[in-house]
Symmetry: C2
Subunit: 416 residues, 2 copies
């Protein structure tokens, strides 16, 4: 039996015993594609089109302005926060759905600085997702260098860099390129020992694994709704503020929906209680409802089971990469140890861009990150072991092409 | 012929000669209602449900991540800005669709302060829409009182309050309660003479009348997509930055989509050129597309004609209020002079809340603003003179009730 036949049998067996296999039916599958980019944009959940048509026809079209009460539009940011809370390991009253991840980072970093008035450093990790850094820098520039400065260190230096100057550390749980996963409990403990607050970006973790905000001691967190949460392109983001940090300071983007009584149109701002004060302007009801419908996909789903499947999917892929000579020219940059791995696998190859394009043409939807990284995202809600097998076969064929000309890296517009 | 018969004939004649009457067919009309709240939430445009279903099924569902290029999702903020520009009297390259009005106010006020480093006052108008003030105060609080302070003056004192301390004046063109319209040209000229920048909120003007940003010398502006632009509940907002103020300073909410090359994921932030640097995080594609579809309603529509119809609608209402004894107990607070009036009429009555509720029960959808204001919004795209007549009849009947008990103002959640 050939090596590929062994893999085929293994994939078949793994799919046959997959207790979560039925979840795939909750999504609309794209025609003729194996989709391994759910870490960029989740699939379209079934029922989405019908659900939004109902919203448009019955609520917007017929009930119009009265829908803010009648259909509880006004409560959507809070309602979605409470629906997300169990997926994030958060007790009620700490999660809010609002704005974009970027805007939410700004609110939380400003909060952290206000809670640490005698500290001026925002610590960030090198090679983390750019918008996190940009937002921190934008805040620092606005406040001036006497009040705030962004300091960057490599990931393995983070816990050694928690000093009494550091107000807050901003970092991603799962790195968007390598798929490396941080130990939140360890980093939170190190931070707290030095009086440093933590702000976690769980964009590449939420919905694919437990993130245990409360249990691991997270202070603040943000995340996005359009990756493993399947809320649609540019879905609303969320933020988390631990109970112990609520109601102490104001946040700077204090728009009218964060007022205690927005509809009394008071001249003076009185911040709403708890996490609700992190609301700013009027949110898109269409976008919020889409995320609400998408969260139905998680009904009855165990995050622990999802995480197990995710790790089995990526381990199957990694094991094959390591064992088969067909893959000897790619370099794995994702940690092999389960606890250190998110829900994606990344490999490097000098012709990475051309190979990613070739895989896409073969119907395997992956993505590319400059300069040479190919990302394979494994969404445990809908990816199968046969999907992984198809990716391996396509990658082997692609790599077997005689040679890739030195690729010109014409990076295409693509949202992670 | 009774007084009401005269009005009936007049409404009939005005509708018969209304050259814009056919525009009403571009919208879905709610069952059994006369909708006079388009200044809060515009009607559902026809084709919206089908258009968004196509987006969901064909673009999100089938083409998935490739849609960012294939269906130009990534260009939506710019594309919508350019579609809005002619409706705002703006030459290309100055309007961007993004975030909420509140978030955009923050970006622009910070920009104005950066352009006037030696001035610390943000001037605002008393009784303007609360979120504008709240956002200004949030920025001032973040920057500290040495750098920034919010100063409030009544509307008629604005042009006398432009001093060398004032960096920027933030004000609404049309007041959300009274419907009073400011003379932008006059205020811009007074401001500029004192070196003051202007930031206009045209939420209650855009889509109902020409706002002539370029011609009247506006420096900055924001506005919302869900009122007279009919983009749906919580539709994306827009911002305007006059060419002469572009590329000089950064804005503080500098997220990855405002980077010159966001998809190269560079460690250092290089702001995009022009108005594009005012982008922050990933926008909701659903919400953006909804606004795009809504803007089709403006195809071939003259803003001058829209404005004429709007003024004729409100003048018909005001004239009737003044002439008929049935209305003698209400007090008109909207300016009678055409140039000073937006696209709504507001009246006061001690039992305003109860009357507004009674009108709604009679099928006339208006809204109430504490303590005693009833707002009648006239959307020239779809309201008829028969709508105005129906409102007058219902108001007369409502006022003829023997007495209103002193109303308890249980202000309902309602988004203006």
């Amino acid at each position: 039996m050939s090596a590929l036949d062994v893999l085929k049998n293994k994939a078949f067996e793994l799919d046959r015993h997959d207790e979560l296999a039925h979840l795939r039916e909750r999504f609309y599958m794209p025609h003729g594609k194996v989709y391994l980019d759910g870490n960029s944009l989740g699939l379209l959940p079934r029922g989405m089109t019908e659900g939004l048509a109902r919203l448009m026809n019955n609520e917007w079209g017929d009930d119009l302005i009265s829908s803010w009460n009648k259909h509880a539009w006004i409560d959507m940011p809070e309602h979605l926060g409470e629906r997300l809370a169990p997926l994030l390991g958060a007790a009620p009253g700490q999660v809010l759905c609002s704005d974009s991840t970027s805007v939410n980072i700004f609110k939380l970093l400003a909060t952290a600085l206000a809670l640490r008035p005698d500290r001026r450093i925002i610590l960030i990790e090198s090679n983390d997702f750019p918008t996190d850094r940009y937002m921190a820098e934008g805040l620092a520039q606005l406040l001036g260098s006497q009040r705030c400065e962004v300091r960057e260190v490599p990931g393995d230096r983070l816990i050694h860099s928690m000093s009494s100057e550091v107000a807050v550390v901003l970092l991603s749980e799962v790195n968007y390129r390598t798929g490396r996963r941080h130990d939140k409990r360890l980093i939170n403990a190190s931070a707290h020992q030095a009086g440093v607050l933590t702000c976690w970006d769980v964009a590449h973790a939420a919905g694919a694994m437990p993130v245990d905000f409360d249990a691991t001691g997270v202070d603040f967190a943000v995340g996005c709704g359009y990756k493993f949460l399947n809320g649609g392109p540019g879905a609303p983001a969320f933020l988390y503020v631990a109970k112990r940090h609520q109601n102490q300071v104001s946040q700077p983007l204090a728009g009218w929906l964060g007022h205690q009584t927005p509809f009394e149109f008071e001249a003076s701002y009185r911040a709403a209680s708890g996490v609700l004060r992190y609301q700013t302007g009027t949110p898109s009801v269409l976008a919020m409802r889409a995320l609400d419908i998408a969260l139905d996909c998680f009904d009855g789903v165990s995050l622990i089971q999802l995480r197990e499947k995710s790790l089995t999917l990526s381990a199957f892929f990694i094991d094959a990469l390591k064992m088969h000579p067909a893959f000897k020219t790619v370099r794995l940059i994702t940690p092999e140890q389960d606890t250190h791995r998110g829900s994606q696998v990344a490999v490097c190859h000098p012709a990475g861009y051309a190979i990613a394009q070739d895989l896409i043409e073969r119907g395997i939807v992956v993505d590319f990150r400059a300069p040479d990284i190919i990302r394979f995202g494994f969404a445990p809600m809908y990816n199968t072991f046969s999907d992984v097998l198809a990716a391996l076969n396509a990658l082997a064929e692609s790599l077997s092409k005689e040679t890739y000309l030195a690729p010109r890296f014409q990076v295409r517009a693509k949202v992670t």
